[in-house]
Amino acid sequence: MSGLWRGFWAIIIKDIVVELRARQVLPTMVILGMLIVFILRMASEPGSAGVGGPVMGVAALWIAFLFSGLLAQERSFAAEQQNGCMDGLLLAPLDVGTIYLAKLLANVIMLTIFEAIVVPMALIAFNLHVTGGWLRLAAVLLLGNLGISSVGTLFSAAVQLARTRGSLLGIVVLVILVPMLIPATFALLALFGAMPVETQDFASLHSSGSLAFVGSFKAAIGYMLAFDAVFVVASWLLFGVVVEE
């Protein structure tokens, strides 16, 4: 068991050290995230009054997460393609599931560093006030992070050799994550004061669509937790299929 544990940490530390030395992917992620926030801020200038600000701000945040997250996940297996590193990983006395969990954690860490930098920028750009509390904000961001990374890590290994590698990973991950976006958007909107945190009344948002549901912030968190649990477990179980030759 300790062998597995050592291997697990070895992979994570290897990924982080490589990234710290190369300093390629993380800066690109951060700049991409900032650009997305910036562009969406400019594009939403007319509608920024009142409730428009938080709505666009939340949209900008999740879009930035998704696309920068894709960058991180692509990196996590792209580097292994060179020098047959992937074969090396697979030949090591490690359970394939452990490889997945290690890569997952590495991606989550990268995305967390990204969040720490870009979220304050978005708060400033869209003039958002975290009325719901910073702890809750961190919780929502972590759950979203886990969701994006779990599916992305699984399919990143799958699409490595494809010609349209980046976009292919993109469409696969995005389509699976769409149902998570609904409660995630709701949760962030509630945290930024665009709708009351514990209430059934959503008339203030003038929306009769999917957002007018979840019922409460707790339900949104619960849902994201369930989503993450289902997909982390499913990806962990299916990872072995994806990396076999």
Partner: protein, 211 residues
């Protein structure tokens, strides 16, 4: 045999449309699109279930037949999902004057369509051996199927204002709807069957050519 299946399916569909439009007409004229809409919706979901079973079979047994079934049902399901969304949009435009709105069932239908589309693109874009491609597509099929109930739950609480409570006023209407479902289901089965054998034959042809 297949020809019989398709003829039967088309006969049932014509019968359904005829009965639905003449004897079982629903009050505002445009609502009769439901006779085309509901069977397509059911079949789109059925094809997804077939996709799940085929994906699981492909992963468990590793036999190519399951993979071909998955590909065929994904294509047929894509057709049905497209029609589901198209008729849904026409219905929504006629009934509430908007082409689309993020109400739960509409969101579910849209995601269903996207899942099929991504599956088909994945099938085409993955390099490597057909075996590997089959396995990865099967993984996506299973993950996608896990996605659908999550969509459902994530949209559960909404008071679904965008669906009329469709009650069958007369036995004619019930008949028309049931005939439509049966016809579309037979059509789906036939399409999947035909497409599977087509894929099998073209695979065989490729193998012959390579020899």
């Amino acid at each position: 045999m297949r020809r019989l299946l398709f003829s039967l399916a088309i006969v049932l569909l014509v019968a359904s449309t005829w009965i639905g439009l003449t004897q079982g007409q629903i009050a505002p004229l445009q609502r009769n699109i439901l006779y085309a809409h509901v069977p397509n919706a059911v079949c789109a979901l059925l094809c997804f279930v077939v996709l799940l079973v085929a994906s699981a079979g492909c992963l468990v047994t590793g036999r190519q037949g399951w993979d071909l079934l998955a590909a065929a049902s994904a294509e047929a399901g894509f057709v049905f999902a497209t029609l589901l969304n198209a008729t849904g949009m026409l219905f929504s435009r006629a009934e509430w004057n908007v082409w689309w709105t993020p109400s739960p069932r509409l969101v579910t239908s849209a995601i269903l369509w996207f899942l099929y589309a991504v599956y088909l693109i994945l099938r085409v874009s993955l390099p490597g051996s057909p075996y590997r491609r089959a396995r990865i597509c099967a993984v996506f099929g299973i993950i996608a199927f896990l996605d659908v109930p999550l969509v459902f739950v994530s949209a559960r609480f909404i008071p679904d204002i965008h669906r009329p409570s469709f009650s069958f006023d007369s036995p004619w209407q019930t008949a028309a709807m049931m005939l439509g479902m049966a016809g579309t289901a037979l059509l789906a089965a036939g399409l999947i069957w035909l497409r599977t054998s087509l894929l099998r034959d073209s695979g065989e042809l490729e193998r012959e050519l390579l020899q």
